[in-house]
């Protein structure tokens, strides 16, 4: 057990926990931020994606001891009212089915669009390849990212 001070969604949080604990479980079990999902625990599905600084990372592979003073953003902190352009595009395209993978998809898409605001179709496919959607909403995910990119405010 050790004490950590991490910045999550703009707030400093103090957590006492085993240093090996992945951020996924710190978020879900300790901070009750359950928007970040568990899908595989082995870096294969992307359901647990959060932002570390500006980068999309898999929180199941990120021990709390490795966070340091970088800011973590989760789906709960992406926007105040669910009105990030990518979230809005998700609504417009009616992307989701069961919805379970979508927080991870959105977190990956938002970080990607920040680094590449005008992606080609191939670049979107490559960037999103790590996020599994078992319900098969891939074509809509791609469309939503394209329409968010076109709105030029992502």
């Amino acid at each position: 057990m050790a004490k950590f001070n991490v910045n999550i969604n703009g707030k400093q949080r103090e957590i006492e926990v085993d240093p090996t604990t992945p951020m996924l479980w710190v978020l879900r079990d300790h901070l009750k931020l359950v928007g970040t999902k568990y899908g595989c625990g082995v870096a294969q599905c992307g359901a647990c994606t959060v932002h570390l600084g500006d980068n999309a990372v898999r929180s199941c592979q990120l021990p709390i001891s490795a966070v340091g003073d970088k800011e973590i953003t989760t789906i709960e902190g992406l926007s105040e009212h669910g009105d990030h352009p990518v979230q809005k595009a998700w609504i417009e395209e009616d992307v989701y089915q069961c919805g379970y993978c979508q927080a991870g998809q959105i977190m990956n898409a938002t970080a990607f669009l920040k680094s590449n605001p005008n992606p080609t179709e191939g670049e979107i496919e490559a960037a999103m390849h790590g996020n599994i959607c078992r319900c098969g909403t891939y074509t809509r995910i791609k469309k939503a990212i394209q329409s968010a990119a076109n709105s030029k405010i992502a």
Partner: protein
């Protein structure tokens, strides 16, 4: 004018009462059926009349539906209010849907499976909406002292145009609740629909994109502990002993103990499926702590039955295909004679491995069992069966058991089997604390309840004109017999023989999205493609000729043929037209397939090219006849999902066994389709025929593997017989 009776033989599908807090509460039967014949009325079971859905119109005008059906991603939560809003004549945005907790006194069919939610709810929801509207009109007529037929409604408001009067539904809802329920009500004509058939966004969208706690795994309760289980590493093994004491000193671990979820005498339901009775439970404060303790736990297992391997299944299934069945499932004419006389004969074998469901949200359940009460909560498709098992396992009166459903992070059939709910209950009881049971991905993938492994062999005979004169199908699966003997091309071939076998296996299996159809459709449609080629005919023309035969001169009693050849041909023609099939450019590799299941007809055409040895799917055209489409936007989503799911599993996924042990345990070795591999575009076309709606959650999946195999053949010159297409060597069997 379509009238619908609200009661039969003095039994009523509806009950009205004044709502708590004012307004009108209309209870309705989810299974209400429209205009049955007198014969059907006589036979109608009492359970059909059980009230299992509620419609509430508050005195503030707010409309709430309490729905008995769980949401698994098929979007019934949006479709249902649309149906009610249509008949009730309100702004559909003003209907709220609440997930009703299980209460078997009033709710009967509380099960999401078999693509039946909308099919069964259709008439009931319309009846409830129309009745409520009718009663509001009658109440307004009384208040205004005008004839009721002079009153019109729109968007939740009643109007009497002549006297320029109007008022909101809420104002007369209380008065309406005191009227008697009419014996019959008039339904809208489909041509007058303005909500049904229009695209509406998923009502849960805003919660989903904000990561709101909707799923079972998101449950957090005061004092709740986390539980995980350890099950045998291989089928054929059983728990013997474990070093549970040694892990108790690990951080956060509260207890670890063996459990038996089905003690002697416990009465199991079908829905307990492949639940494993003896497990080790680990209970701790957090999930990560439990995961660490799981790793440290050393369990001794003992072998209790055969440790099966995939090579054994392969061999045993092949042996079954070489064994004539004792009784044919269906036999028309004389196939042996026809094959002997045929000009050309072709025989091919198709196979597919076990598949896991791999719902994105692993199995989980919350339980809080005290001496007085059992509270269970989580993602499950069959709560009323879970309740029965719990009643028996905990020996607790059913009135003390409360089961609540959460949104499900995928179902695909997996959450029909609720053994995880029983596990949660047994662990909570032992701990005397609320617990949330969490399966790791590995637990989820290696637990069992799989799509069976299958093998099927087809043989066809053609005459000199290339006409199909004989058809023989023999199929087998693990714990499943695969063949649907009365489906196409039964009824379209003079000499027809269908046989089926079942291979008993200790590897547990269960329903997996479109059971049996999920494999046999693709196999059959690949074979037909090869037969058409042998006949020198266009694959679509070849199929249409067979439908012509089934329409004009069906073999056998047409009632036994499990499809309507006209509707079947209709989707095929529509897909052909939309894809530009006839003007087939030489450089396009198109593959076609069509299938009927879950009461809906689907034809699909794939256009692909090869990128190295990987298929790149440019486009899929899909023609669907599922009757009236409630919400085209979400209907398309279901269709697209089924297509991508079907392509993915046929191409990439497999679960294999070595000595009873699943060789894939997580997504590093078990491949699921990903973004780059999905079709670039899917276009769906619905047949507009005004027929009552049928299922959409499943029917687009089965045929797609056939279209894929046929397109792959065009692109590569190789026929694909063995799934998964990418990793299996394709040999003609």
């Amino acid at each position: 004018m379509t009238k619908i009776k609200t009661q039969y033989n003095r039994r009523s599908f509806l009950k009205v009462s004044t709502a708590a807090g004012g307004g009108m509460l209309l209870g309705f039967s989810w299974l209400a059926s429209c205009s049955p014949t007198p014969e059907q009325i006589r036979k109608m079971p009492d359970t059909w009349f059980d009230i299992n859905g509620f419609l509430k119109i508050g005195d503030n005008g707010l409309v709430t539906i309490m729905s008995p059906n769980p949401e698994i991603g098929q979007n019934v939560k949006t479709a249902m209010p649309m149906i009610i809003a249509e008949e009730l004549d309100i702004d559909w945005n003003e209907v709220l849907v609440e997930q009703a907790p299980l209460n078997t006194d009033i709710f009967t069919r509380q099960l999401a499976g078999g693509s039946q939610s909308i099919r069964q709810g259709w008439q009931s929801l319309r009846m409830a909406g129309a009745t409520a509207r009718h009663m509001l009109v009658m109440a307004a007529a009384k208040v205004w002292q005008v004839p009721h037929n002079e009153i019109t409604t729109a968007l939740g408001t009643l109007y009497h145009k002549a006297s320029d009067k109007s008022m909101g539904y809420g104002e007369v809802a209380g008065a309406a609740s005191k009227l008697t329920v009419p014996e019959e009500v008039v339904l809208k004509e489909p041509k007058d629909f303005n909500i049904i058939g229009s695209s509406r966004l998923n009502v849960d969208g805003p919660d989903i994109i904000q990561g709101k706690p909707l799923f079972g795994l998101d449950i957090q309760e005061e004092g709740m502990l986390t539980a995980m289980i350890v099950h045998p590493p291989a089928f054929g093994m059983k728990y013997k002993a474990a070093n549970t004491k040694e892990i108790l000193s690990m951080p956060g671990i509260r207890d670890a103990f063996p459990i038996n979820i089905y003690p002697e005498g416990a009465q199991k339901q079908w829905s307990d499926g492949g639940g494993i009775a003896e497990l080790v439970a680990i209970v701790g404060e957090t999930t990560w702590q439990c995961m660490q303790a799981k790793k440290a736990l050393k369990v001794e297992w003992e072998q209790v039955s055969t440790l099966e391997s995939s090579s054994d299944h392969e061999e045993a299934l092949t042996k079954l295909l070489n064994t004539p069945s004792k009784v044919a499932a269906r036999k028309d004419g004389n196939v042996n004679k026809a094959f002997a006389n045929a000009n050309k004969v072709i025989e091919r074998t198709y196979s597919a491995p076990f598949l896991a469901h791999n719902t994105m949200e692993p199995m989980n359940f919350f339980a809080n069992i005290t001496a007085e009460k059992a509270i269970l909560k989580g993602p499950i498709q069959t709560p009323e069966f879970l309740e029965k098992t719990i009643e028996s396992v905990l020996d607790m009166p059913i009135e003390h058991i409360d089961i609540q459903m959460t949104r499900m992070g995928g179902g695909f059939g997996r959450r029909l089997y609720g053994h995880f709910g029983v596990e949660a209950a047994v662990i909570s009881k032992k701990m005397q604390a609320p617990i949330k049971l969490v399966y790791s991905r590995e637990d989820d993938m290696t637990q069992g309840t799989y799509r069976p492994a299958y093998k099927v062999r087809y043989k066809a005979g053609l005459d000199a004109e290339g006409k199909l004169i004989a058809w023989h199908v023999i199929g087998a699966g693990t714990n499943d017999d695969l063949v649907f003997e009365n489906r196409f091309p039964a009824g379209a071939v003079d000499n027809y023989l269908a046989e089926k076998h079942r291979l008993e296996s200790n590897i547990t299996t269960g329903a997996w999205r479109a059971p049996r159809s999920n494999f046999i459709a693709g196999a059959e449609q690949s074979f037909i493609d090869e037969v058409a080629e042998l006949a020198g005919k266009d694959p679509i023309d070849f199929r249409l000729e067979l439908f012509d035969r089934a329409i004009n001169d069906p073999v056998g009693d047409p009632k036994t043929n499990d499809y309507d050849p006209k509707r079947f041909a209709g989707v095929l023609q529509l897909a052909r037209e939309k894809s530009g099939w006839s003007s087939n450019k030489t450089n396009r590799s198109l593959g076609v397939s069509a299938y009927y299941c879950h009461n809906s007809y689907v034809a699909e055409i794939i256009d692909l090219e090869m990128d190295g040895n990987m298929p790149k799917i440019n486009k899929v055209w899909c023609a669907v006849d599922c009757g009236i489409v409630i919400n085209p936007l979400s209907a398309r989503n279901q269709i697209e999902g089924g297509i991508i799911d079907g392509i993915g599993h046929a191409t990439y996924s497999a679960l294999s066994f070595e000595n009873g042990k699943p060789e894939q345990q997580n997504f590093d070795t078990y491949q699921l389709i990903r973004q780059k591999q999905a079709p670039k575009e899917i276009e769906t076309f619905f047949v507009d025929n005004g027929i009552d709606p049928t299922g959409l959650g499943e029917p687009s999946l089965p045929p797609i593997s056939g279209a894929l195999a046929n397109a792959l053949y065009k692109a590569t010159g190789t026929r694909y017989y063995r799934q998964p297409f990418i990793s299996e060597r394709q040999v003609i069997g």
